[in-house]
């Protein structure tokens, strides 16, 4: 076995990185891929509340509105909370203070880097009404938060009205209640249905919490929030609401919607010029008014053309492209048109869009840009030709400033690259579970965007002739991102599987927003990560072509489910994640349409110090990953 660790001793310089010029068949579009998502179908949601409290002489009493649900979970969080005691008094007067016929005290580590554990009081079949919760702590303790989940399936949703969040431009956020079965429905529709059922937001407050800890108060008007950001960066809009369901039962809901406020974008003017690159390809040079804030963007468009069946989409083209001389470039391989039986007349770019390469936040859009007539390349399409249609000819390079290019640390082997996830302490895949040439990517305590993470792997990957990525958590996002958008040693790997991911938030995790607001578990040391929110993930996914998805194998896990109680992986994330989940990622979100769904296995959690063992320690799965992984 050859094990190499990531040695990042190198120079900081602008490094040329080859990017793929993506091409996708119309069947990808028919499946809903490569299209900008509707933000009102994503956003954030919660069926829990977070109630801040302040101790007076070491204790406090909090009134908690509890609706009808199967289980009430009460988790006080704060400095020293492992030493606190909690009593919950039902409206009937019954007191719950520990293990009992209907109650259970559970403990669990709140997060890596946090001393001590949380103590959670779970109560079965809680009576609806106003509960009183008494928390007693150390006299030195000043404040904390009480996380409450009552099991009522009514959620508070928050969503961006437009995902394009730009400095100096109004950001609109919709709010609404939704039954659990409607949380993926358009927010307005779900809210209307809930409202028709009698549910309502009784009162609410909102604030925008920036990563540096500063806050902006926001006002809620008519179930809507609007603000105009004066700064860039990642912030979290935290909405605390008191809501009522159709039966008038009241509940607390706290929803955290992360936003990434972007610098001024390049703006499409609508002007496009064509340049024949070679026998097959035409460069579509889209004129932009360059704000000068970015040297590269994601650009993409559907290509429509007249032909059999009328004017129809014939392919999608896009990828990362430099912003140079007031132009961003899309490259059309005209074999797509020939394959569809088109003669090159009536060609249009539709749904043209630009996005930020790190946050995937849409920067600008244009509905239609006419290209006129294009000479179409005909002839049989060889395997090499097919690949060129999908990935380009390898002749586009971007300069990435600040990329750390390491000294070569080995002799150019073909490796299975094991990558940890977000903000890892380095304890991830056990190398001893793998045989042959294994490369252990190890760059700990980092808060990378998917693109930064992918480029970091790319950079270190230059030590190897070829490799596939075995990614845990965000390491999986990075591997898929790298394979989709950049040329790398992954393209030279041979074997069955190029991207194997485990516990990867392919469709995001609600935890990204919740824990960013709390500042714990999910990056207590590393900060907020927008790409792993539902919104960020939805935007990211819209740039992943079908051919890359098809080369991705995804596993998820969940906790061991016992029949006599509600189980979980993590004492806190259990309150915000839907089952099945691994303590960080919900199973549904760890899989993605078009990838190979390897199922959800019980008995394993996301990382160590959760209830079940870390999922990366599953020998059976690791054997399969090892034998099937391309090298």
């Amino acid at each position: 076995m050859f094990i190499a660790s990531c040695i990042l001793a190198g120079t900081l310089a602008a490094v040329p990185v080859p990017v793929k010029q993506l091409g996708c068949p119309p069947s990808d579009l028919a499946r809903g891929w490569m299209q900008e998502p509707t933000p009102a179908k994503h956003g954030a949601r919660s069926s829990h509340g977070v109630l801040p409290f302040t101790f007076e002489d070491g204790s406090c009493m909090i009134q908690v509105e509890v609706s009808t649900g199967s289980q009430l979970r009460l988790l006080p969080v704060g400095i020293g909370s492992e030493n606190w005691t909690i009593h919950a008094i039902e409206p009937t007067g019954q007191v719950h203070a520990g293990d009992g016929p209907r109650s259970r005290l559970v403990r669990g580590l709140l997060a890596k880097g946090v001393d001590g554990s949380g103590i959670r009081l779970d109560i079965l079949d809680p009576a609806p009404g106003t509960w009183r919760v008494v928390i007693e702590g150390d006299r030195g303790t000043e404040s904390g938060q009480l996380w409450v989940s009552d099991g009522n399936p009514l959620h508070l949703r928050a969503w961006l009205e437009d995902a394009s969040t730009i400095i100096g431009q109004p950001v609109g956020i919709g709010l609404g209640l939704a039954d659990i079965e409607h949380v993926s429905m358009h927010g307005d529709l779900a809210a209307a249905r809930a409202q028709a059922g009698g549910a309502s937001i009784l009162q609410g407050t909102a604030r925008l919490l920036w990563q540096d800890g500063s806050e902006d108060a926001l006002s809620i008007e008519g179930n809507r929030i609007q603000f105009t950001p004066a700064r860039t960066g990642i912030g979290t809009v935290i909405i605390d609401a008191l809501a009522a369901d159709g039966e008038g039962q009241r509940m607390h809901r706290t929803t955290s919607l992360m936003v990434s406020i972007e610098k001024a974008p390049p703006l499409l003017t609508g002007s496009v010029t064509l340049d024949v690159l070679d026998a097959h390809r035409v460069a579509c040079r889209l004129e932009v008014i360059d704000s000068g804030e970015r040297d590269r963007v994601l650009a993409g468009a559907e290509v429509w053309a007249a032909g059999p069946g009328g004017v129809l989409p014939r392919c999608w083209i896009g990828g990362i492209t430099p912003v140079e001389d007031g132009v961003v470039e899309l490259v059309l391989d005209t074999r797509w048109l020939a394959e569809a039986g088109c003669d090159g007349h009536g060609v249009e770019l539709r749904l043209v869009r630009l996005a930020d390469v790190d946050s995937f936040v849409p920067l600008d859009r244009m509905d239609v840009m006419g290209l006129g007539s294009i000479e179409v390349s005909r002839g049989d399409i060889s395997p090499a030709g097919r690949r060129a249609m999908q990935m380009g000819a390898g002749d586009r390079v971007i300069e990435v400033p600040g990329l750390q290019l390491p000294e070569r640390a080995n002799i150019g082997s073909h490796a299975l690259m094991l990558s940890h996830g977000y903000c890892s302490d380095g304890d991830s895949w056990p190398p001893s579970h793998f045989t042959g040439e294994v490369a252990v990517y190890n760059n700990t305590e980092q808060n990378f965007t998917h693109d930064e993470f992918a480029l970091d792997i790319w950079s270190w990957g230059n030590n190897f002739k070829s490799y596939s990525v075995v990614g845990h958590s965000q390491g999986g996002n990075a591997g898929l991102h790298l394979y989709s958008l950049y040329w790398s040693g992954m393209d030279w790997s041979t074997g069955n599987r190029r991207v194997q991911v485990l516990g990867t938030p392919l469709q995001g995790t609600i935890l990204a927003g919740d824990i960013a607001a709390l500042g714990e578990i999910f990056g207590i040391q590393c900060g907020a990560n927008y790409d792993m929110t539902y919104d960020g993930a939805a935007q990211w996914i819209s740039w992943l072509p079908g051919w890359a998805r098809a080369e991705t194998w995804a596993w998820s896990t969940t906790f061991t489910d016992v029949w006599w109680w509600y189980d979980f992986c993590h004492v806190l994330s259990d309150l915000v994640l839907w089952d099945p989940e691994d303590g960080v990622v919900e199973a549904w979100a760890a899989h993605l349409d078009g990838t190979n769904d390897m199922g959800t296995k019980e008995g394993w959690c996301h990382i160590e110090d959760m209830v079940d063992p870390p999922q990366v320690y599953d020998t059976a799965r690791n054997n399969e990953i090892n034998s099937e992984g391309a090298r």
Binding site: P383, I411, G412, K465, S466, S488
Partner: protein, 263 residues
Amino acid sequence: MMRTSSIAILFMATQAGAEMHCGSGPAAIPDGTGSVANWMIDVPEPAESQVITSARLMVDITHPWVGDLSMVLTAPGGISAMLLDRPGMPNGGWIGAWGCGGDNIVCMFDDAGSAAAEDTCSLDEVPVLGGNLQPKDELTVFNGFGPGGSWQVMVLDHSPIDAGSIQQLCLVLETAPDCNGNGVPDGDDIDGGSSEDADGDGIPDECQCMADIDGNGSVDVSDLLSVIADWGCTSGCAGDLDGSGEVDVTDLLAVISSWGECN
């Protein structure tokens, strides 16, 4: 079978008049040890003085990562040409930091090739270097030298991990006579005006004993008498040695200046 067929196709593509000489040597290419695989190709000395007018090399090598390989062709006189120098390196863009990772070389290195071998790479094509490809150094460097002797092809695998072997290496040479040994084909000498060809037989006059009219191997009194006998002749005259159309004193002087045994 496919491989033989590929070589055969390449050979079929050689021009008429070319001669192919295949070599021998170790099949295995030392894998990243710093040692080279040396193949020798023996080309017999031609019966008459010849010079190379075109050199090409047919290569059939199996290797899973051609970006590891360098190849040098050296002529018997020591002149060398780099054929391949780790294609795709040092900065192969999309190809990556380790050069072209494609499999196998079944190609003809030919200055007139359709593409430069150094710049040819594909994720899908096998062999990745196929057809007629331009070598890194032009093979015209061998033109004008004699073909005979032992040619050497050195194949170096710079990097371990991926190992390969030589299936066959064949030199395809086109030659032309060079009777005066000046390194220029006779025809070029004549066309270029550096040699006369009074009798139009394609052989420079300096290579021929023109004054030996009776062909007895020496210029002697009988040839002198032939000139005198033809004196003043203006048509079909054997004594018109300079082809001026008239037998005159110039022809007489040519006999005198060439007096003796022909070289």
